[in-house]
Amino acid sequence: MSGKVIQNERTALAQNVINQPDGPGKRIGKRSELALIGQVNPDGGAELFRSRIAQFQAEAAYWETRVGTVHDFRITLIDNDTRLLFMITYDGDFKPYVQDIIEQAHPWFDAIFPGIWVGYKSAHDAATIQMVVDSALTADFLYVAHPDLSVHDISKMKKLSKAVNDLFDAAS
């Protein structure tokens, strides 16, 4: 990062932002981000996207629960429907998990992107994977509230917290 930081009472809380050790994206502690920009097929890609997105949205919780490491995920068309922006925050490393993510969630991705994202054939196609990795963009700025808590940790804490509350409720 270039540019100078003037230390003051507000910079005392600065988070340690690094680049992913093995792949694109920024990272604070366990929490990582990744953005991808794709070209939208000019021949009806935007219309296809709008026709498919409701189903994709409705199935999101199912697929992301299977993957289990994604905190939030956004997709939007930008630049007059000519480009697609894909932004995600997740736990840990990106590149080492590419194959695992594909194995878990390829039907979901394949239900939306073919015909919309130029170059996207199928999640099992090596050229598609390479195209996706090559279209990655690393953020210039990142903030996360809890860099040390993974999706699994949060689920576990929710369970624990509920158990404690249930105990108090039962005792009262």
Partner: protein, 440 residues
Amino acid sequence: MLQAKLELHDIQGTVLRNRPMPYFGAYLLFRIHNATAARNLIRRLLPHITSAADWEHPAENAWINIVFSYEGLRRMELPAEILAGFPIEFRQGMAARAAFLGDVGESAPDWWDLPHGQNGFHIGLLVMAGSTALRDEKLAIGHAAMAGIEGVSLIARLDVGVPPTLREHFGYRDGLSRPFIEGEGGIPAAGQGVPVKAGEFVLGYENELGQISTGPGPEIFWKNGTYLSIRKIRQKVAAFRNFLQQQAASADAQEKLAARMMGRWRSGCPLSLSPDKDDPSLAETNTFNYYDDDPDGKKTPLGCHIRRVNPRDALKDTITDARLHKLVRRGAAYGPLLPEGVMEEDGKDRGIVIAFVNAHPGRQFEFVQSQWVNDGDFISQGSRTDPIVGRRDHADDFIYPEKPFRRHITGLPDFTVTRGGEHVFLPGLRGLRWIIEMSG
């Protein structure tokens, strides 16, 4: 689906066959100064390279296998487009990947004493035998092949051999669990699980993604070849003994702690089958899993060594597909035993050399090392690392269940340090011939 039929006569033996017990071996590393000389050396060695087929009916209980680092293949003058087609991990070499693999601090490549691809390890000969005499016979073949060859020099020799205890240096029995490779011959032992697709360990066969694992260039070059991810790990035996003594008052309590860290008693007996007391008769019983039986690690602690390097079915509900991250581990101890009861280091180098067989070093060895050994997220343990071999700069604590309360040990020291490492290519026998004939 038809089961893969492996071309055993073309696959170098170490890929599929276990070492004998006891074992006596050596790693010989060579520097290539001249490609013609290297081709001559390999031509002479070729008739002596042991295949997986010979292994089935061995004429003798000893063998030689041959490997190349990326720099070695470059010096053999392989075409640039073939070199560029190798996986990034192999092209860069293990030393360049140190930060990702956790080889930092005392484990950093600056301290390595076994050469890697960037400082001289170009060709490696792996010799393994059932006796010292047989080993020396194989070494003599290597020496004879070197006669009159200038342009290739022997730069390092590391002898390996089983300690008289038949255990590794920390006192654990090892080599007890490994995947069954489809087509390797024989039938899986109880507890070996579903056979793993051959393409996870040998190029040219279907892998767990349903694809044929391939290499760069013509099929004859890469078919039946694979990669070994080699590690030389120095073990600080006195540090390990002192730690156990400081943390546990009685000998029994020390054994119990050693078992919690490994997931097996030092006899090899799995905690999963006998959590409260050692039962050496169970050492070779491998029929246990975690998902239904022990999801929270009450018997086999979540963070212990064996649940990290081989999670079995524990990750069924997670992002990780454990089938994609299997390794065949070929470990061999080196250095003299630190006599029992000695609590101070004697300055002698001792440890283990492990060759991990994998067709995809990125999603196999490097994944296991970076995500499972040196991190804890996959088991909801934050940055916590392996209590025995993990890096300590990210976390240095270990949690395991105990009665009445769980125990949390902090300030774990380094019990092991990396002293060498390289990803090497182990061609099939036809591939070896192709290498020497291609431009020779």
